[in-house]
Structure formats: C-alpha cells, structure tokens
C-alpha cells in the first residue's frame, strides 16, 4: 500500500530566502504525525508548500499523495485529491455565507471522487450533523466566512470544514494557537472523532499541550527547515521540559 503522504528531500523558498532545506517524511493511513519546532523553523511553510500556496517556490524534492505527485498540481486539484489544510490564520470573505462556501467546496471534491453533487437540502442535513463534531450551532453556517468569528470560532470552523470534506490527509497548522482550554478540548475532540484507518493527519504545533488530547503516533522536531529528530510522544514531553535548544545543530 502507498503511504498517504510521502515527502522526499523537499526544499522551498520565499523569494531569495530558503526556508525548507530537505524535509523527508512518510505518513501511512491511520497515522497522526506531529511536527514541533521553534518559530521560523519552517513548519507553516511545509504546510503551505504541500497545499500549493503560490507564494512559495519548491526548489528541489517531491511530495505525493497516495502515490500521485503533488508538485505539478494546482492547489484546488490537490484539495480535490483529498489534501486539506487547516489554516493558522483563516481569512475572512465578506458576504459569502459559510454554507454556500462549503457547498462550493464540497461539490468539486465529490465530483473528483466520482460522486454526485450534493443538493441544498442534503447539504443542510450534513451541516447539521457535522456542527456537532465541534460543538457549534448550525447558525454559524449562515454567517459570512470567518467574518466576525472569534479566534476559537475560526479554529473550530476549520475543523468543521475538515469534517464535511472528509480529506485523506489533513494538515493542521497550529489548530491550538490562541485557544483557551475549553476551545482546545473541543478542537482536539473534533480531530479525534474524524480520525480513521483510512485518513491521516499532520499536526503542526508549537506546544505540547494539544498532544495531551490528541495522541500522535510520531513526533518530529523541525529546526531550520529540516526534521532533526523523530520519536514517539515522549519526544514532545522532552521538548516541554528542555526546550528546542537541545536540538540546535552545534557549530562545527
């Protein structure tokens, strides 16, 4: 069986600045991988590069989803193949209702899977069911995309979209940043509910605390655009205790 996400020697830059310096990582179905690292280590860049954000240039290496090369695909085509990015800072789109937006999103993805477009009524039922995953009222689907959402609502809204789109590989870029303990529990519970043997998750985080609720199979430490150490959950606790300095390469 193919791994769901296979990243090999990935290098990327923004303008002249090199940010990723050879990331290699394999994620199999059913696995949750956490990537931890200090600010500026390239975690969000990795997420954006995988999703195809045109602001980043891939200079070397490759990445594939279920055996299919991602690098030549447009961002929307990556999404349609089951790649989902939960944004660290979800953008506002004034005047566009969440339910309209999510249906505009789900239908091309369903089409790619060979399924029929979903009608308005069926979609409404789907939303009513999925808002429970993140403990929100379905009224939020009538609000404009992220407009006037609190920080916590924005993060939950990302998980709601993940619940509706049912991606194969979810890249969660700091889904815990700025959350209080209650919101963190809800987001973590959503991630756990959506976990299955057919999908996998790449969870990017700065802090260990979300890993108290979402148990990763692997933890990777990223420093200066490279994964410098991999291990199990205990590695995260190690970071919590001793910080990231211990992983910094020592000058030769």
């Amino acid at each position: 069986m193919n791994p769901l996400l296979d990243i090999a020697d990935l290098h990327a830059s923004v303008g002249e600045i090199k940010i990723l310096n050879g990331v290699t990582l394999t994620i199999n179905p059913g696995e949750i991988h956490a990537i931890m690292g200090p600010n500026g280590s390239g975690k969000s860049t990795l997420a954006n590069v995988l999703a195809g954000n045109p602001a980043y240039n891939v200079t070397r290496g490759s990445a594939s989803i279920a055996g299919e090369n991602l690098m030549q695909l447009l961002p929307e085509d990556r999404a349609r193949r089951g790649l989902f990015l939960s944004f660290q800072h979800p953008v506002e789109i004034p005047g566009v209702r969440m339910d309209h937006f999510m249906r505009a999103s789900l239908n091309p993805i369903r089409k790619h899977r060979g399924e029929n477009e979903i009608g308005i009524l069926d979609f409404d039922r789907l939303v009513s069911e999925k808002v429970q995953v993140i403990d929100m009222s379905r009224d939020m689907a009538k609000r404009a995309v992220n407009v006037g959402f609190s920080g916590g609502e924005k993060k939950r809204n990302e998980i709601l979209q993940m619940a509706i789109l049912e991606p194969k590989i979810s890249i969660l870029d700091e889904p815990d940043s700025g959350l209080d303990v209650d919101a963190l529990r809800i987001v973590a519970s959503g991630i756990n509910q959506l976990r299955s043997n057919d999908n996998s998750t790449l969870l990017i985080t700065h802090y260990q605390r979300i890993l108290d609720y979402v148990t990763p199979d692997y933890v990777h430490i990223m420093i200066k655009g490279r994964i410098v150490k991999s291990g199990d959950k205990s590695l995260a606790l190690d970071v919590e205790k001793s910080g990231y300095d211990q992983f910094e390469p020592t000058p030769q």
Binding site: N53, P54, E76, V91, V96, A104, P108, V145
Partner: protein
Amino acid sequence: MATQNKYVKDVANQEYKYGFVTDIEEEQAPRGLTEDTIRWISAKKSEPEFMLKWRLKAFEYFTSLVNEEQLPDWANIKHPPIDFQDMYYYAAPKKKVTLDNLDEVDPEILKTYEKLGIPLEEQKMLSGVAVDAIFDSVSIATTFKASLAEQGIIFCSFSEAVLEHPDLIQEYLGSVVPYTDNFYAALNAAVFTDGSFCYIPPGVRCPLELTTYFRINAQDTGQFERTLIIADRDSYVSYLEGCSAPMRDTNQLHAAVVELVTLDNAEIKYSTIQNWYPGDENGKGGIYNFVTKRGKCQGRNSKISWTQVETGSAITWKYPSVLLIGDDSIGEFYSVALCKGFQQADTGTKMTHIGKNTRSTIIAKGISAGYGQNTYRGLVKIMPNATNSWNFTQCDSLLIGDECGAHTTPYVEVRNSSSHLEHEAFTSRVSEDQLFYCNQRGISIEDAHSLIINGFCREVFSQLPMEFAVEATRLLELNLEGTVG
C-alpha cells in the same frame, strides 16, 4: 502570481456576448441635429403641438449650452469630444408595425429578442413579467398590456402615451427632470424618440414585474429614450430595465431620461441591469451611457428605490436620485458598478431631503478590474425643514489587479441639527490569501473570484426581484469569466 495575472488579463479581455447585429432595413432621420431634425421626429410620431413646442424649447436651451461650451466636465471620465452633428437621432425598422400584433413584427427582430433571452411571445415569457421592447428609436411591442389595463394600469410606449394620455404627459413630463437640468437632459428632451410609460392607479399593486428592454442596433445612431412612471396614491410597482448593443468600433451615445413620481403611500422599485457594449480590449468602441434618472417622492410616506447593476458601456455617467418631498418618505439607492478593460464609470446618487422625517439609504459597490476606473459620486442634502431626517451611506470598492482604480467622492450638506447621518466606506482587493483559501478548499480560481465578488455584491443583489437577481449574478460571472488554459 501567474494564475491570478492570467485571470485578471482574461477578465479584462472578456468577450461581449450580445454583440451581434440584426440585419434589417431601417429608416433614419437625416444625419445631424438641427431644428428640422426635431420637427422631423415630432412629425414622424404625429405628436400634438405641446410636445413639439417643448422639444423646441429644449433644443434652444441645448444649443445655448453648446454655444457657450457648457458641457459637463466635472465627472471623473475621459473621452474625445462628441460630434453631435455626426450621428443619427432616429432609426426605426422599416417594416410598419402595429404595436399589439406580434405577427406583424419583423421576424428578424423577434429573433433578436429571443437571442437576447427576452422572447416577446407572451406564452414564452418569464411568468409574472410584462415587457416593453425598444429597438433603436421605437417601441416594438408591449406585452400583457390588455391584462394590465383591466386593473387600470397603463403600460405602453412613450409615443403611444403622448397620443392616448396627453393629460398625464403634460402634467408630469419634465416635472422631475426639467430640460434645463443638465446638458444631456436637454439633448434628450429635444430629440427623444420613444421609451416606456407607466401609470399605476390609486390602491393598485401591480401584479407583474414591468420591464423595458432597450436594444441599440443601427450604426452611428444615438438612443434617446424617456421613461415616465407614475405611482398614484397607495399603489406599488416594480420595474426593471435591461439593455444591450452590437459590438462596433465607434462609440455610440445613449442619453436617456427616467422620471419617477410617487404620490401618498406609493412605492416604486426601479431596477436596472445595464449591459451596453463596453468596447474592445483596447478600449475602442462601446456605448457612452449618459443618463439622468430621478425620482420624486411627492406624496407623504412614499418610497422610491433604485437598484442598478452596471456591467456594460465604455463610459457610464449616471446618478439615479430621489427628491424626498413628502414627509416620512424614503429613498434608496443600491448599486453595483463593474469596470473592466478600459471602462469608466462615474456613478452614484443624490438624496435631497426636503420633507420631515425622510430617510435614505445608499449602498454602492464598485468593482474595478483591468484598466477600469470606477468613481462613486454622491450627494446627501438635508434641507432646513427636513427635521429628524436620516441617511446611511456605504460605498465600498473592490479591486482586481494592479492597473485599475477606485475613487469615491461623497458630498454631504446638512442644514438642520436634528438629522442623523452615517457613512461607511472601505476599499479592498481580492487578496491572494482569499484566493488561496478558496483554492485549498477545491474551488477553482474562476469560481473563487465569482464567489468573492458575489459576496461583495450581496447586499445589492438581494434587492433585485428574484428572476433578475439570478440574471445579475450570471451576468457578472459572464463578464468576469476567464478561460483557463
């Protein structure tokens, strides 16, 4: 970003889908504008004496403005001088038509409207919509006239109204937009050839959406029509105009006048979907749309609401306005103006509060793409006696690409201290972040643009009658559609 640049380029170069020419013989007035042209038009229409007199007075005033070079120059638009002697002021299909029998309308013309999506056979029409079809200078057909007449509603061409209802015309013609109002209003009053007329009697709620569809076909011909709508006390009407023109590399002038009057407790809802030919990708050709639209809330507690979706024309110069005379009357202006390619729009509204407790709402959305230049120009004027009046203004601009422009010029003039005004404005860009967010959710770049733009326009589209809201959304999408490849 490569994808967006490509998209923006496509948007700027989007093809115009209504640019065909109908090949029929037309009768034209001699080229140029003299007193004889006006007499010729008036005679052609067998008009009563009062009409000819009014036209000639208007022409005299227009001539004085031309001689004194009093052309309007305050708008944020640029165009070469217009040679008023180098165009035709009247063009009409040669085949004689009687207005009530479609069998006698040239089949080519029926086909034209069919192609534009406005079939004139009543059984084929959108249910609940009556249409007056104006082809160049004359009205071709008015549908559902008979069934409307049963309720006392008059809906007919302007020419017919002049002959059949001269009292109403004499009372109201020029009562909202006098021929001295401005340069193009003077020109229109002198040479207008047709248009729509509508009268809703007291207490009647018009059961159909009334529509006028304007089509320019003949070359080098200006279209000058006048619309007059009167809503008598306690009545209601919703009215919509649409328009299109062939693609030509010369500019054509469209200088219309619309006058609305509401008496006590009456309401007129006037919607426009303007899709005149905007010119080619180099800015060659297209319609100069210089239009004066004004409503008069004459009665107490009456309401006039303008909604416009302006997607076409090389230049749009229009300010649908409301004179709030009756106490407690309400004026509204909802606008979406799109400028792409080399289009220019200078549009907005004037709300003049004269009566007490009068209220007005202005929501203007400007979208600029390509090299388009979009200006919102508005005036809210509150007179000393208009105590406890209220205005809310919101003018927002959305920019697509780096070469376009958005400008806002809101004027406010308040002459009492009990009135309340609010003003909001923002300018935004379709951001790379928004596009990427949509793309990441599986939404293509085109769909993402139309989603974001429709969201931007939502408050205005929601004011349109249902059938037309769908049409407006589609039109905007067509205008912004890009080809991927």
